[in-house]
């Protein structure tokens, strides 16, 4: 049965390649920091299930120690020049989009046998015997990546290590922020253990009048946006508000559709991301890149979109979540 084991082996191998290439990257003054960081992520993917809970905790401390003490830099692996790229772009034309499109197309096609109406067919049963249905999309996505990579090797004829060196260039640009979502998800688990969601949810529930579904929906969506503004990221707000209001009130009490409550709730949180300086990478970094005199100019440009959209999300939750 193909499932997480396959996915994590692929990811682990890729991060191992990143670690090796980082260690060899003399253009990066902090190459050992990068190499160590990617090696730990690789270890997590390959052997995470054998490390034990405490072992994984220590692994996280290692990642935090490397990132938190500024031991990571950006590599300077050689790549093509802007002129070479322009020449290749006009020579190869729109076919360049094809390998990139293979990934989402395979991910979508590979997911179809697991969905109605195909789920009940012979195709669906065969697919379910081969692949863990719970990981169907991720397995299909990974197959799409491997296929696109094979096409890239066959068509563009790079050296074996070149795609990974180019991938590392992008990875170094993301840097420690790569594991920020996973870290925030884990913080959410600690908040769950400490019942922070109950406290926040208890405060939020005080604002809900008895028996009013629209008020409950509004408190959930507004709470998601407000908590996102504080945390700077909807990823951190989601587990808390879902545990505090979404699950106990909207799903259990009012029998809402969990997929709708989750999906649109997250998007209500994104409206909060648009109007908070805490989301520095989206709101402050572009202002700096564009040399704007007012560092909050991007946030001010986003407020007139974010507020009506938040209202629209409340309406959509109310109309679609409780059919």
């Amino acid at each position: 049965m193909i499932g997480y084991g396959f996915l994590y082996a692929v990811a682990g191998a890729m991060f191992a390649a990143f670690a090796l290439l980082s260690a060899a990257d003399r253009g990066n003054p902090r190459r050992w920091g990068n190499a160590g960081f990617y090696a730990l992520i690789s270890l997590s993917f390959i052997a995470g299930d054998r490390l034990g809970d405490l072992g994984n905790g220590v692994l996280v401390l290692g990642l935090v120690a490397i990132a938190g003490t500024g031991l990571m830099g950006r590599g300077a692996g050689p790549t093509t020049s802007a002129a070479q790229r322009r020449a290749e772009a006009s020579r190869r034309g729109d076919r360049l989009f094809l390998p990139a499109l293979v990934i989402p197309v395979v991910a979508l096609l590979g997911s179809l046998p697991f969905l109605p109406p195909f789920k009940q067919s012979a195709l669906g049963h065969a697919a379910a015997a081969l692949v863990d249905p719970k990981q169907a999309t991720l397995v299909a996505l990974t197959c799409g990546v491997l296929l696109a990579l094979a096409i890239g090797y066959a068509w563009l004829r790079p050296r074996l290590a070149t795609p990974f060196a180019e991938g590392l260039r992008l990875m170094d640009g993301v840097g420690w922020a790569a594991i920020l979502p996973q870290m925030l998800a884990s913080l959410g688990a600690v908040f769950l253990l400490a019942q922070v969601g109950d406290v926040v949810g208890g405060i939020a529930r005080l604002a809900i009048p008895d028996g009013s579904l629209i008020a409950a929906v509004a408190v959930y969506a507004l709470g998601m946006a407000a908590f996102t503004m504080v945390m700077g990221n909807a990823f951190a707000a989601f587990p808390v508000m879902f545990a505090g209001v979404g699950m106990p009130i909207l799903v259990r009490h009012y029998h809402g559709d969990p997929a709708v409550i989750a999906a649109i709730g997250m998007l209500a949180g994104f409206c909060g991301t648009l109007i908070t300086p805490m989301a520095a990478n989206f709101n402050l970094v572009p202002a700096a890149l564009l040399d704007l005199k007012d560092k909050s100019a991007v946030i001010r440009a986003q407020i007139p979109t974010a507020l009506p959209l938040l209202a629209a999300n409340i309406l959509l939750l109310y109309l679609l979540g409780f059919r």
């Binding site: 994984n56 938190g68 390998p99 998007l267």
Partner: protein, 216 residues
């Protein structure tokens, strides 16, 4: 109420601009302490959650493919595609960019555009030039800021339609802790109504900008 200290740590950490990973680790420890859990217990809980949430970080397996294609001119080709779209008012330009950003993000191509890759070298200068032709005074911030805002709106309300973006996987993980199994496709389909609303609201603002500039 003491457990809210963990949230305070996050806020203070961000205000002091400390490394967010460090701040998150500190917040976890403080939250654990405030709720009466031993540090090792919290470390184990954090490690366990980190291990079960590995799929959130899985998406980076696309980087070698994207990097290889960029090496052979993918970004240049994408830029040429946008640049070939003529008929330039600032509103139309940014509406088209909004659509482009939403559609490409919806099929997972979140990093082919962004503040550094596309807004600064391409979209903001084009938008500013178009607006000035329409009578916008020179030297202001608002058109460039609007270009950056359009990029964010397009990204945020396009990416959740893609099956394997981090936020979809996070929701899947959280729902699983309640014993609710959902497919990423269930979640991503429900991102479409909001994506349409975002396009209508932001697009309406951009259309009104063209009208306001025409009245000058």
């Amino acid at each position: 109420m003491l457990v809210l200290l963990g949230i305070a740590v996050i806020v203070i950490g961000f205000v002091l601009r400390l490394n967010p990973l460090l701040v998150i680790a500190a917040s976890a420890l403080v939250t654990g302490w405030a709720s009466g859990h031993a540090p090792l217990e919290i470390l184990a809980a954090f490690g366990k959650a980190f291990n079960t949430n590995r799929f959130v970080t899985l998406i980076y397996i696309v980087l070698p493919v994207i990097g290889l294609l960029e090496r052979h001119g993918l970004q240049e080709r994408a830029r040429a595609l946008i640049a070939s779209i003529r008929g330039a008012t600032v509103g139309r330009l940014l509406i088209l960019y909004l659509l482009f950003r939403q559609l490409t993000a919806a099929i997972g191509l979140t990093s082919i555009a962004g503040p550094a890759q596309s807004v600064r070298p391409l979209v903001a200068p084009m938008a500013v030039a178009a607006a000035e032709k329409q009578g916008e005074p020179e030297g202001g911030d608002r058109i460039a800021a609007l270009a950056a805002a359009t990029d964010n709106v397009g990204l945020f309300f396009g990416e959740d339609i893609f099956l394997a973006i981090g936020s979809i996987l996070l929701m899947k993980g959280v729902l699983e802790t309640y014993g609710i199994a959902v497919q990423p496709l269930d979640l991503s389909l429900w991102a479409i109504p909001t994506a349409i609303a975002a396009f209508l609201i932001h697009g309406f603002r951009l259309w009104r900008l063209d009208r306001a500039l025409a009245r000058r």
